[in-house]
C-alpha cells in the first residue's frame, strides 16, 4: 500500500503543534487525544489497530491493538481522512513543552526506533509496532525500558521530544554517552546499550545514576533535553500537595521560612 504523502507545517516554539495538509482522499493517523483542530471536509474515524497494510484480518488487527496496549497507547487509532474536494488541514498538538520532529521514514531507511509515548501522528500507512530492547542491561537500566516503539513505512511520521531537541549524526564507531531517559529516537543501525558510570563515587553521589545509555554509530539519533518524567518529578516536588522527602511545599506557607530563610538558604536546586 502506497503511503499518503502529506504536506505539513509546524507552528510554535516551545509548545508546538503540527498542521498536516491532506489532499482529497489522503488520510493521517493521530494519537488519541492529540488532535487540535480540523477543517470542514475532514472525516474522523476510529479504527482498531493502526490502519497500516500489514494488519490483514481480524487477528492481525488484534495483534496490532495488543502491541499498542503494551506501548502504553490506546487500543484505537483515530484516522482523519479528507473527503472534501480541495486540500484540507488537520492539526495535532504536542502534549507537553518540547519539539515536534518530522521524520521522513523513506529517507531514514524505512524504520525508526522511538521511545514509547513519543508518537504524535503520521501519514496513514505508517505502521506502529513494538521493538523489544533485547539487551538486558539496556532494558533494565537504559531508562526506556524493554519496550520501544518501531515506526515502519515510507511516509512522514511526527514524534515529540521534551524540551529542546538535539539531532546528531554518529559516524561509524562513534560513541555518545547519554543520560538515561534522554533518548527519543534512533535509526536501527545505532547500537543502544548501557555503560556503568565507572566511578563508585560518581555513581553514588554524582546524581547521574549508576548507568549511562550509550549510543554507537553509524546512524542518526535524536535526544531530548527534558524527559517528561523529569519535569513531572519537579512539578510534583514543588506542589503544595506534595509530601515525602524532597517536598518543598511548606516553605511557601510560612512567611519567614518561605521568603526569607528558606529562599536564601535553600536556594534553587
Amino acid at each position: 500500500m502506497a503511503m499518503d504523502e502529506v504536506d505539513y507545517e509546524i507552528f510554535g516554539n516551545e509548545m508546538q503543534f503540527v498542521e498536516v495538509e491532506l489532499d482529497p482522499g489522503e488520510a493521517a493517523i493521530g494519537e488519541a487525544g492529540a488532535m487540535m483542530f480540523m477543517q470542514d471536509g475532514i472525516d474522523m474515524d476510529t479504527i482498531f489497530g493502526d490502519g497500516s497494510a500489514q494488519q490483514g484480518g481480524f487477528f492481525g488487527k488484534l495483534l496490532g491493538a495488543g502491541k499498542r496496549l503494551v506501548t502504553g497507547e490506546s487500543l484505537f487509532t483515530t484516522v482523519f481522512h479528507n473527503e472534501g474536494n480541495g486540500k484540507r488541514r488537520v492539526a495535532f498538538a504536542a502534549p507537553y513543552p518540547g519539539k515536534i520532529i518530522p521524520m521522513h521514514l523513506a529517507e531514514l531507511g524505512g524504520t525508526l526506533i522511538c521511545q514509547k509515548d513519543s508518537f504524535l501522528c503520521a501519514a496513514k500507512g505508517v505502521s506502529l509496532g513494538i521493538a523489544f530492547q533485547k539487551k538486558l542491561g539496556a532494558g533494565l537500566f537504559g531508562g526506556e525500558g524493554f519496550i520501544m516503539q518501531k515506526l515502519e513505512g515510507d511516509g512522514y511520521a511526527f514524534i515529540h521530544a521534551g524540551g529542546t531537541l538535539k539531532e546528531l549524526i554518529l559516524a561509524p564507531g562513534q560513541t555518545l554517552r547519554v543520560d538515561t531517559g534522554c533518548v527519543v529516537a534512533f535509526q536501527p543501525s545505532v547500537d543502544f546499550d548501557i555503560q556503568f558510570a565507572g566511578k563508585i563515587k560518581t555513581a553514588l553521589f554524582g546524581g547521574e545514576g549508576l548507568f549511562f545509555a550509550t549510543l554507537r554509530g553509524p546512524g542518526k539519533v535524536w535526544l531530548q533535553s527534558l524527559p517528561l518524567s523529569r519535569m513531572a518529578d519537579r512539578i510534583v516536588m514543588s506542589s503544595r500537595l506534595a509530601s515525602g522527602p524532597g517536598a518543598r511545599s511548606r516553605d511557601e506557607g510560612s512567611l519567614l521560612g518561605g521568603v526569607a530563610l528558606g529562599g536564601l538558604l535553600g536556594g534553587d536546586e
Partner: protein, 368 residues
C-alpha cells in the same frame, strides 16, 4: 544464477556523514558496491570483516579499509537475508558467525525475561502452594501450639464477650443449656458452655473448649434438639481445633498476600477475606459431619440441626442474614447434605432431652 542487488548504506571517508545509499552485488568472489550507476568499490572476500551491529544486533556491518580510510556498509535485517542467500560459500562462515551473535542476543533476552518473570512471580507461587497445602500446613502449626496458649486465647475471647454483653450465668436458661450440653459432652472433655445475652442468632466456639450461645439463638430455636444440633456443631469446631487453624491460616495468608501483591490495602484485604471465607466454609462442612456423629452417639434426634436451618432460612428471607450464616455455606446446600447424611443413618435410637422448652424461652431476658 543472478540475485537482485542488495541495498545498504555506505559510510566512509569523503561520503556524507549520515551515509549514502548503495547497492551490493556479488560477482564471483568479488563484492561490487555501487552508488546509483557508478561502481564505487570492488572488494575481495579476504578484505571484508562482518559483524552484527545496530539495535538488538539485528543488522550487518561490513568493514574494510583502504588508502582513503575505513569504510562501513550497514545492511538492515531484510537486506541481510537476501545478502546471505547470494553470498559465495567462502563468505558464508563469516555470516554464520554474525547469525550466531544475533541468536546469542535473542537467547540471552529470552533467558533474562524468563528469570525476571520467575523472580516476580515467586511470591504468587508461594501463595499458590500455601492455598494448595493450607490444611496440612495449618495442622502442622496447630499441633505445635501448646494447650496453655490455646486456653489463654479462649480466655481472651471470653473476656471480650463479657465486655460486649452480659453472660447469663444462672436461672432456667443457663440450666437448660447446661443440661443439653451435658448430654453432648463426654466426661473427659474440657468444655465450657456460656450463654451471652445478645440478640443475634449465633453461637461460636473459641480455642480452649469455650462454646458461647447467644440468647437470640435460643429464642429462634423451636426445641432443645435444635439447640443440641448447633452445640454439637460448635463442639466439633473445638474438637477439630478449627478456630486455631483459621487463625494460623489467616495470618499466613496475609503475610503471603502482602508479599505477593504488595501492601496494596484493599486488594490484600479483599483477597484475604475471600479466602478466609472459603477456609471457614470447608471447616463448617467438616463440623456439620462431626456434629452429626456426636448427636447420634448421644442419642439425640439429629433432625434438629436441619430443622434449625429451616428456621434460619425463614429469618434469612427477611433481609440481612443472621451472623451465623455470613461465613457458612448456603443454608439450602447444608440442609440438603445434612438431610442426605441423616437419611443414610436410618432411624437411630433417640431419647428426648428433658428440658421444658416453653419455660426456658419464657425465662429468656427481654431483647433489648
Amino acid at each position: 544464477m543472478s540475485h537482485p542487488p542488495v541495498s545498504a548504506r555506505l559510510y566512509g571517508p569523503g561520503g556524507p556523514a549520515d551515509g549514502m545509499a548503495a547497492s551490493l552485488a556479488w560477482r564471483g568472489q568479488w563484492l561490487v558496491v555501487s552508488g546509483g550507476e557508478v561502481v564505487l568499490h570492488t572488494l575481495a572476500i579476504a578484505d571484508l570483516r562482518a559483524e552484527a551491529r545496530g539495535f538488538n544486533d539485528s543488522q550487518l556491518g561490513l568493514y574494510w579499509s583502504d588508502d582513503a580510510g575505513d569504510h562501513v556498509l550497514i545492511l538492515d535485517a531484510a537486506a541481510l537475508a537476501v545478502f546471505r542467500e547470494a553470498a559465495p560459500a567462502a563468505f558464508g562462515h563469516r555470516l554464520e558467525a554474525v547469525r550466531q551473535a544475533q541468536r546469542r542476543t535473542d537467547r540471552r533476552f529470552r533467558w533474562g525475561i524468563a528469570v525476571l518473570l520467575t523472580a516476580l512471580s515467586l511470591p504468587l507461587v508461594a501463595l499458590g502452594l500455601f492455598l494448595g497445602f493450607s490444611d496440612p500446613l495449618a495442622d502442622w502449626v496447630v499441633k505445635r501450639i501448646p494447650p496453655s496458649v490455646e486456653a489463654r486465647l479462649g480466655e481472651g475471647v471470653l473476656a471480650q464477650t463479657r465486655a460486649q454483653s452480659s453472660l447469663v450465668a444462672s436461672g432456667p436458661v443457663f440450666d437448660g443449656v447446661q443440661a443439653i450440653a451435658q448430654r453432648l459432652a463426654q466426661p473427659d472433655e474440657k468444655l465450657r458452655f456460656y450463654v451471652a445475652d445478645r440478640p443475634e442468632i449465633n453461637a461460636f466456639a473459641a480455642p480452649g473448649g469455650v462454646v458461647v450461645v447467644n440468647t437470640g439463638l435460643l429464642r429462634a430455636a423451636g426445641s432443645p434438639e435444635e439447640v443440641a444440633g448447633v452445640l454439637a456443631h460448635e463442639i466439633a469446631h473445638v474438637e477439630l481445633r478449627h478456630s486455631l487453624g483459621q487463625l494460623v491460616k489467616a495470618a499466613g495468608l496475609r503475610v503471603l498476600l502482602s508479599a505477593g501483591v504488595g501492601d496494596y490495602g484493599p486488594l490484600t484485604d479483599w483477597g484475604a477475606r475471600l479466602t478466609e471465607l472459603k477456609f471457614s466454609r470447608d471447616a463448617e462442612r467438616a463440623a456439620d459431619t462431626r456434629g452429626l456423629e456426636r448427636l447420634v452417639a448421644a442419642r439425640i434426634d439429629p433432625a434438629g440441626l436441619p430443622r434449625f436451618f429451616k428456621t434460619l432460612e425463614k429469618s434469612e428471607a427477611g433481609g440481612t442474614p443472621p451472623a451465623l450464616l455470613s461465613t457458612h455455606p448456603a443454608t439450602g446446600e447444608r440442609q440438603a447434605s445434612l438431610g442426605a447424611a441423616i437419611q443414610a443413618l436410618g432411624t437411630p435410637a433417640v431419647e428426648p432431652i428433658p428440658v421444658d422448652w416453653p419455660a426456658l424461652q419464657a425465662a429468656l431476658p427481654r431483647p433489648r
